[in-house]
Amino acid sequence: MLSVLKAAYSGGAGKVLKQRRICTLSWRTVVVALALLPAAVGAPPTDSMEQRVQPCIACHGEQGIDLESGYVPRLHGKPAGYLYNQLVNFREGRRNNRAMVIMVSHLADDYLWEMAEYFATRDVPYPPPASPPANAQLATRGRILATEGDPARDIPACQTCHGERLTGVLPNTPGLLGLPSHYLAAQLGAWRAGTREAAAPDCMHAIAERLTGMDIQAVSLWIAAQPVPADTSPIAGPVAEPPMECGSVPLPGQ
C-alpha cells in the first residue's frame, strides 16, 4: 500500500528537494523580530505568509522545475486571480495532480486567496527562452496561431486574451512566457482530453478542442522561444473584448 504512495510521488522530486534545502527558515528570525516589537504583543507570532507557504516552496521554486513526474510551474508573479482559480480547481477536482490535491484539499477559500496573492506579488526574473523550432513550417504556424489565430477554424489569437506581450492579463489570465514547451503542450493536451478543466464556461477547453496535435506542438514551441520582455507584469485588464467568455470561480466572500 505504501509503495503506491511512493510510486505516485516520483523520486525526481527528491533530487530537487534535496539540493535546495527545503526550509530556508525564516520563522526564527520572525519570532525574534516579533519578540522585540512591543506592538506585536498579543498578535499571533510567526505570522508570516512566507512561513505558511513553506510546503509550496519545497516544490515551486522561483523558477519552475522539471521533475520526472511532470513540470512544477513557477507561481511567482502570475495573476492572483489565475492562481486562486487553479487552487480551487485542484480542490474541486477540475484539475488533478496528487501532490497538489493533498496540499489544498482542506484549505478554505480565504486562505487560498491569501496564498495566491502571496505568490502573485513576488517578482522574479524569467528563465531565458528556448531556441526556436528548427522546422520553419512549425514556427510559422505557431506564430500565426499566437498572433492572428485561425478564423477559418474559429481559433482566436492567443494574444487577444493572454496579452499583446503574452505576459497575462489581470485578473484571471496567466502569462505564457517563461514556460517550457512541454508544459504548455501538456496543459493544452489535458484540456483537450478533459483532465484539466477551468470554471465554466471553459474557453481553453473550447480552444484546445479546435487545435490539432500539430497546432499544439507548433504554438507551444513558438511561445516557449519568445524573448522575455523587460516588463513581465500582466496587463491591468480585464481583456477588453474577449473573443469568447472564460469562467472563473467566485472570489472568497462573493
Binding site: 500500500m1 505504501l2 509503495s3 503506491v4 504512495l5 511512493k6 510521488y9 516520483s10 523520486g11 522530486a13 527528491g14 533530487k15 528537494l17 534535496k18 534545502r21 527545503i22 526550509c23 527558515l25 520563522w27 526564527r28 519570532v31 507570532p45 510567526t46 512561513q51 505558511r52 507557504v53 513553506q54 510546503p55 519545497a58 516544490c59 480547481n89 480542490r91 474541486e92 477536482g93 477540475r94 501532490a99 493533498i102 496540499m103 489544498v104 484539499s105 482542506h106 484549505l107 478554505a108 480565504d110 486562505y111 491569501e114
Partner: protein
C-alpha cells in the same frame, strides 16, 4: 415471509405517498436545524461530488467490495429523491430501506444514523427539500460478486443490523447524553474508527483495533494511546474536533476531511458534549493493528544515527532540536500520533506533507512539506529516531515495514 410482506407494504405506501410535493412547506427553523444536522452527519462528504452540485451524488466511495457511487439525494423527482415522503426518508435513515423497499448497502452509514431521532431525520429531510432539485442520473455501483447482489443486503441486515432506539441514560449528565447521541448517531465515528470483519461488521468491544481507511489508519476511540480522548482535558478534545488542531495534535488525512467538511460546524456546546462522552469511554489496551517486523538490536545505533542526521537536516528547523515543536510546527516529543503502534499515518505525513484543515478556530494553518524523496531505508531510520527519542516510547520501524503492502 413477513419481510416480503413489509416490502410490498412499503411499495404500496411509496406509491400512495409519492406526491410528496404537495406537503406543506417546512418552517425555516426546521430547515436551519436540518442544515446543521446534515453537516454533522456529513451527508455532503459522500453525496456531493468534488466540484459537483450539492447533494447531487456521483462521488466514488472505495471499499473492500468495490466502488460505490453515492446517489443523488436532491429533491429532483426523476433522478433524486423528490418522490420520497418523509416516511420513506425515515425508512432509509432508520431501517436502511429505500423507497422501493430494497435494502440499502451500509456504505451509507445508516447503522449509525439509525440512532438518530425521528424529529432530527425530519429536519434533514426538510432541509434537503428546501434546496434546488438537481437533475443528475445516478451512476451504478461497481461491486464484485457477491456484494453486487442487492438482495443479499437484506440477508446482511437480518444477520447484522438492528435498528436503533437511542435512549438517554438518566444516570449521566445531559452533556454526556448529547455527546453519546451525536457520536453514535450522526457523527458516525465508528464507521471509520472500528475494525470490521469480512462482513463489514465491527466487533463492538473496546479492545478491537481501529480500521484502515484510504491508506490511513483510523485509531481506536477506546484507547487513550490511539485516538481516545480519555486522557485529555475535555476542552482539548473539543478543540481538536472543532478546529482540527489542539496543542500537538492535529487532524490529518481522512480526519482532516471530516473536520473540514463537518465537525468545524459543531456548536461549541455540541463539541464539548462529544468530547465529554469520548472522555468518559472506557480506556482499553487495543490489539495491535499491525505486527512490526523487529529491527535487529545490533543495528539500532547505526539506524538512530542515520535518523538523527536526516532529522537535523530536514526537520529540526520547524519541529525543534528535541522535537519540542515551534509556533509553526507541532511538537513531536510526547505526540501520540508519532508513537502510534501502526506507523502508517506517520509515514503518510512525512512522505506527502499537507495542511491541517483551515477552520474557524485555525483559519491559516501552517503546513508540512512533503519528503517523498526519502527512500525506504531513510524513512525507516527517521521514523525510528522520532519514535524513540526525547522520551517517546514508540517501537522502531524497519525498512521492510515501510515497504510492506497491506
Amino acid at each position: 415471509m413477513s419481510m416480503r410482506m413489509s416490502y410490498l407494504l412499503t411499495l404500496v405506501l411509496a406509491g400512495a405517498l409519492s406526491s410528496a410535493a404537495a406537503q406543506p412547506a417546512a418552517a425555516p427553523e426546521q430547515v436551519a436545524r436540518g442544515e446543521y444536522l446534515a453537516r454533522i452527519g456529513n451527508c455532503a462528504g459522500c453525496h456531493t461530488a468534488p466540484g459537483g452540485a450539492d447533494f447531487a451524488g456521483g462521488r466514488a466511495i472505495d471499499s473492500l467490495f468495490g466502488t460505490f457511487y453515492a446517489p443523488n439525494i436532491t429533491a429532483d423527482a426523476d433522478t433524486g429523491i423528490g418522490r420520497w415522503s418523509a416516511d420513506d426518508f425515515w425508512q432509509a435513515m432508520h431501517n436502511g430501506k429505500r423507497a422501493d423497499g430494497s435494502a440499502m448497502y451500509p456504505a451509507c452509514p445508516y447503522p449509525n444514523y439509525t440512532h438518530v431521532h425521528r424529529e432530527d431525520i425530519d429536519a434533514i429531510y426538510a432541509y434537503l427539500r428546501s434546496l434546488p432539485p438537481v437533475q443528475q442520473q445516478n451512476r451504478a455501483h461497481e461491486l464484485s460478486f457477491p456484494a453486487s447482489a442487492r438482495p443479499l443486503v437484506s440477508l446482511w441486515q437480518w444477520l447484522f443490523f438492528k435498528p436503533g432506539s437511542f435512549q438517554d441514560d438518566p444516570s449521566q449528565t445531559p452533556a454526556w447524553n448529547r455527546g453519546a447521541y451525536l457520536v453514535q448517531g450522526l457523527g458516525h465515528c465508528s464507521a471509520c474508527h472500528a475494525e470490521r470483519n469480512a462482513f463489514g461488521v465491527s466487533r463492538g468491544d473496546g479492545s478491537a483495533p481501529g480500521a484502515r481507511i484510504r491508506n490511513w489508519y483510523a485509531p481506536s476511540l477506546y484507547s487513550s494511546a490511539e485516538a481516545g480522548l480519555q486522557a485529555w482535558p475535555v476542552e482539548k478534545g473539543a478543540a481538536l474536533l472543532r478546529h482540527g488542531k489542539a496543542e500537538e495534535a492535529s487532524a490529518m488525512g481522512p480526519m482532516a476531511d471530516v473536520v473540514f467538511q463537518s465537525l468545524q460546524y459543531l456548536t461549541e456546546a455540541d463539541a464539548m458534549a462529544m468530547a465529554t462522552y469520548l472522555h468518559a469511554l472506557p480506556d482499553h489496551d487495543t490489539e495491535p493493528a499491525v505486527r512490526l517486523l523487529p529491527v535487529r538490536q545490533a543495528d539500532l545505533p547505526a539506524v538512530m544515527q542515520r535518523g538523527q542526521k536526516i532529522y537535523e537536516e530536514h526537520c529540526q528547523d520547524c519541529h525543534g532540536r528535541d522535537g519540542e515543536g515551534s509556533l509553526a510546527a507541532p511538537a513531536l516529543a510526547g505526540n501520540r500520533a508519532v508513537v502510534l503502534a501502526d506507523p502508517t499515518n506517520l509515514l503518510n505525513v512525512i512522505r506527502d506533507g499537507g495542511y491541517p484543515p483551515s477552520t474557524g478556530g485555525n483559519p491559516r494553518p501552517y503546513g508540512m512539506p512533503p519528503f517523498g524523496f526519502l527512500n525506504d531505508v531513510e524513512l525507516a531510520a527517521l521514523a525510528t529516531y522520532i519514535r524513540t527519542s526525547w522520551g517517546n516510547a514508540g517501537t522502531p520501524v524497519s525498512s521492510a515495514n515501510v515497504t510492506r503492502k497491506d
